[in-house]
Subunit: 288 residues, 4 copies
């Protein structure tokens, strides 16, 4: 017996589409990612074994996501995007979800899954919303408005509604060093375009607020990533996934530490932790 | 009211441990991964903004997992480890789990979570079992046995029980180009140690079987990663997590393609797909 | 060191809210679900051991979700809601996600997690959208319009846009016996209210279409659940969760069968399955 | 192009099995759970619409898991098993994982998935280990030993190794009212068999320890469920899944409360919560 999937008809399907499914469907479907043949694995047309040792992991990620190789400059900026979000300590709810799963004795992959589910709209979702926010501004600029005027409108529009503009503000940091470094790199690599110019303009508007010193609203790392990835042409639907790629190694390290250092079934209090890792240190000169 | 976690007493807890929990517990717990202070994020002691643009993503992953910077050679080999497992097409069950979740309209992070859960003992779990398999052989070598004798015992022991040695065999490939390339890189970078020597010795034993031509049992990519990561000193408990880090970008790309190219709620038949991406192509000369 | 969660400021947070977090927060938070004290577990005020043997599982689910005991009639109808969605065979994408995870050797709970993630907007999400659809109609009726007129408007509005009304249509069934039975039970138990009356009116409109015989658009089980649960006063935000509660036993049974009957790492083709379970049978007379 | 799943050869697969996959495989596979035909859904041979209103949800769960209807007595005991584990407040790590996901703005199903992943070996896994523990004792009894002697050996064997016997001990409760009630119901319904007799015998041994008053090691709910489900003939591999079925409604209620009562991205401290739900209350007389 061959049957077909359950589920009510999707809301946006049409009666004709529904009935069309009664026709014998084309049994073939198409994929443009990876081609597997005996003794050959090609990703976007390139043999994986040829990529190994020649592309960095970040460049290969760019290739599979976008379909084409990055230029060396884009590759370098994309590395920095991913490094910027590698970890943010034990207190993000995604990390707590991962640690709470780890303390029950589950394998690390279950901690990763639980942690990834914690990248909801309010955590990791801000890159996407900031990309869309910037796109709305760029469309106004493309109609002939000045970047400065649009930036002022965007900032004022939010503040007047009691909202902080997407991509700005942080609960802990009054200056987000990751955001500053990422925009600096984009400029050095000559990869800053309209998105970066617009977010810098919004940043200036916010810095010129009368109460900017007492109540800073700094550009945050999500905003900087949104601007840089916008200029690189990423689809906003890939923003949350980029954050996942960047943060999974952090989630894994927390789950691993939880399993190695603590008794199972402990109660994890996010407030009462103490850092006991290496003290502040600098990269060796050869790395600079 | 302050209460404490539910759950039956863990099997390996002692009565004294159980009663000890009645004492007021030390409210502090320790973490050695990331230190967060206002305007400062340090991973393993290094400021994230200093790492950005100076470490590659793979090097930063190595740093957070291991606690120390990789040497440039180790960094290069670790990039190749991660690139080797980036994707294997639409048919692995983890990829099918991710696509089946995507077709219901769920956000991409849910596809990632479902896909990661598909890295069970029989899929992605072979790196860990091969690392342990090699360790058992190395301990025999450390007792004075020759690498060749131990390799022969290990291979014969499996085959006599009707099992293929861990790290060998593949359902599709009779020669796994990723495995060959990874061991070649380890050798070129002078990072091949006891694990690589042992797995190469097992490979030779298997190649000398009388029926090796009709029924090849090739070294596979999991075996090569196990050998290389064993020589790099990775804990076998991090083997499955390394595979997760490598494959998450592939899962994301499949979930994204599923959402972009297909109607929701389609029935995904793993057999009837056709590749329609870029044809075979080579890296430009500048990349070689 | 005590620090606070990462994450960009939520989009709807205000500057004042953000700065308020600098004040020492009230360390207590409140929960109204379950009270744990030594040797006492109370759910919504009732001792669990008193509930055991006196409430059915479905009645206890109703209690914890809603905060109050159901009447016996409501309890009976709620049992039927949950039974109606227990399973729908191997082809729904949620079930395929669960089976693909099971075939990798993962524990059953990982299959459950993957399957639950497959209850996206297009699969299991229709109960919620139908509840909101019916609520929009009821608000028009409360303004003095007749149920019949509103039903006609709602049906015609969808069809003219080429959409099937939410809660109607099915890919396999031209008559959904679960929907009919559920509305019959609601009527017998005298629990049918405005939502049921409205969905029945929409059903009649759709049945009177000129092409209703060739192209039936039947009321489906999601629509019937939406109407019944709407009349029971359920929050539409609990619609998807009700479906999860009902379907988890089905997901578990599929994962268990996958592990017990099949070799690991098989390729699961949703089309080529054959049912070999018990033939059609009727409940014994004592059960009727 | 038709290809086949990735993945290293499973450890327990034989060379012949591996090569057998080169033969054209039987395209059909079998399932014995649910039969879907147009306008008919049969679970284990029974039409779902016939079950609705005639079987309780718990009885239908028993049917789909076991393949046959429960007797009325078994159905009643099974309801109590599921009610016993409905919830245990905010502090279990599974509940904290679910709440941490909910605070990020994710849909409730993602909280359910994360919570279910928290039912690892040390949390929810004790039912299975206790079932296997009891089975090992029953096999000794079947060889002619007395229940009392075996119970003493089992208890002493654990205590001498500094372990608490599986199914006993609780971090909060010195007497677990759920366990007592469940065994009482099994007795009243005349469903107590060898597993229940054995666990009661172990309980007596533990109560006769010299320090039983100062350091009670009570039978816990996991132990009682293990004994009861063992006597009902459940496969220990279904023990963790039974706990999942029972606890999912609790996880949902916590995720729902988290979303309804709290701001997103709050830091959830498991220690500082206060119960503000209904005060202690009793079931109405009609329910007793």
């Amino acid at each position: 017996m061959a049957s077909r999937p359950d589920g009510s008809t999707p809301r946006n399907s049409t009666p004709s589409a529904r009935h069309a499914s009664a026709r014998p469907a084309d049994p073939h479907w198409h994929t443009a990612i990876t081609r597997i043949q005996p003794n050959t694995i090609q990703i976007r047309g390139y043999a994986v074994d040829e990529l190994m040792g020649r592309l960095s992991f970040a460049e290969a990620i760019y290739l599979i996501l976008r379909g084409e190789l990055p230029t060396p400059s884009i590759g370098k900026l994309f590395e920095a995007v991913l490094v910027s979000s590698l970890d943010h300590g034990v207190t993000p709810p995604s990390t707590l979800a991962a640690r709470n799963v780890a303390t029950t004795g589950a394998p690390i992959r279950e901690s990763v899954a639980a942690g990834v589910l914690g990248f909801g709209a309010f955590h990791g979702g801000d890159i996407e919303s900031c990309m869309r926010f910037l796109q709305s501004g760029l469309s106004r600029i493309s109609e002939g408005r000045s970047c400065h005027d649009v930036a002022r409108e965007m900032a004022d529009g939010c503040l007047q509604q009691g909202r902080i503009p997407s991509g700005f503000g942080h609960r802990i940091h009054t200056f987000d060093p990751r955001a500053a470094r990422l925009l600096q790199l984009a400029q050095e690599l000559e990869l800053d375009g309209g998105h970066v110019r617009l977010i810098r303009a919004i940043e200036r508007v916010l810095q010129q607020r009368p109460d900017a010193d007492e109540r800073p609203i700094p550009l945050n790392v999500d905003g900087a990533i949104a601007a840089v990835c916008g200029d690189l042409g990423f689809d906003p639907n890939l923003a949350n996934p980029l954050f996942i790629i960047a943060r999974v190694p952090g989630l894994i390290t927390h789950a691993y530490e939880e399993r190695e250092r603590f008794q199972p079934m402990r109660q994890i209090d996010p407030k009462d932790h103490v850092y006991d890792g290496p003290l502040s240190r600098r990269l060796p000169e050869t790395r600079k």
